[in-house]
Amino acid sequence: MTTTDPLLMSAAIGRRVIAQDTADEIGEVKAFVVDRSGRTIERLQIAGRTRHARLVDWSDIASFGPDAVMVVAHDRVHEPVDDRDAEIVGGNVDVLGARVLDTAGFEHGTVADFEFDPDSGSIVGVVAGDAHIIRDRIRSLGTWALVVDPD
């Protein structure tokens, strides 16, 4: 894969999700499951007409295109499989809107956006108010806050 410009999560939400094998539209991007380190996207939550939450692993995404997210096969969509999925889908962990807290115990507003690499799913940076927080300063994302090293 080639290196591409980072994408903003807020811009990617609502993008169509399509299965490459059947060409069916599975749904649209609803949310991102970011791991506890706060540095990697593990899965996408897909909005659709079913009552149950549906997710697709980042490793099953063939391409995060400008108009659609291409999933390798329609049967790769699944329900939450671990606690992290449940925390994000259940709203116990905020991703966009998360409180930003430094390791010295001082708050710095909330997360306005995450920048991510559409090829790898790596978080590149965080936008919080006027501040841009680079990936290396991110320590964790949990039920209370996105914890970052002080500026």
């Binding site: 506890r36 390791t103 115990g105 001082f106 708050e107 949990g142 209370w144 914890v147």
Partner: protein, 208 residues
């Protein structure tokens, strides 16, 4: 950022009572695992030992676990930071020490007198330095006029059940605002460091 703390050009200080109610948050998880209930302070040695805790959430109540000062990574205006949840259970300070400090004396309400016999006021609080190595660094007093005053903690302080004597060398560092006290404490510590550096080794030699 909220601003109850003071700094960063001076010692970053907080009243101990302002720490009460703050969440205890893990750096590796970003989770709020407890809430500060009370400060455990040893008045005999004028030292911060740690904090007792409440549970978080709707069904909050007292937590059996305690948080030793040595396990704290930082105290800010918005949270007390620990590395992970082992800080509440695997403390290097025995739990019994935190639950039952060696010196049970309650310093609150004591009169503070200068070494020349002047009554400076009554102790109404403890002042903590925050950051990676939190410590008790001062007392907050209320003087006869009802004004706040801050005095540095000194190893030379004498304390009884009712009085605390401020050594003469500490009186010049007394301030009436927390911001000023932060700078004062920094100067006080620098003076102590200089004093310890200037001890002449010959003073310790035994003459033949």
């Amino acid at each position: 950022m909220s601003g109850r703390g003071v700094g960063p050009d001076t010692e970053r200080l907080m009243r101990a009572r302002d720490v009460t109610g703050l969440p205890v948050v893990t750096i590796v998880g970003g989770d709020d695992i407890a809430e500060i209930r009370d400060v455990v302070y040893d008045a005999g040695s004028h030292s911060l030992i740690g904090f007792t805790l409440n549970k978080r959430g709707w069904f909050r109540g007292t937590l059996k676990g305690v948080l030793a000062a040595t396990d704290i990574e930082g105290i800010g205006a918005d949270a007390v930071m620990v590395h992970d949840d082992a800080a509440l259970t695997e403390s290097s300070t025995p739990v019994a020490t935190l639950a039952d400090p060696e010196t049970q004396r309650d310093v609150m309400g004591n009169r503070v007198l200068s070494s020349d016999g002047t009554d400076l006021g009554q102790i109404t609080g403890v002042v903590l330095s925050t950051g990676v190595d939190p410590a008790a660094v001062g007392y907050e007093l209320t003087d006869a006029a009802g004004e706040a005053m801050f005095v540095p903690i000194s190893a030379q302080m004498a304390i009884s059940d009712t009085n605390l004597i401020l050594p003469a060398e500490s009186t010049e560092f007394v301030r009436n605002d927390l911001a000023g006290f932060g700078a004062s404490i920094a100067s006080y510590r620098a003076d102590l460091d200089r004093a310890s550096e200037h001890v002449d080794p010959a003073d310790h030699w035994e003459q033949p």
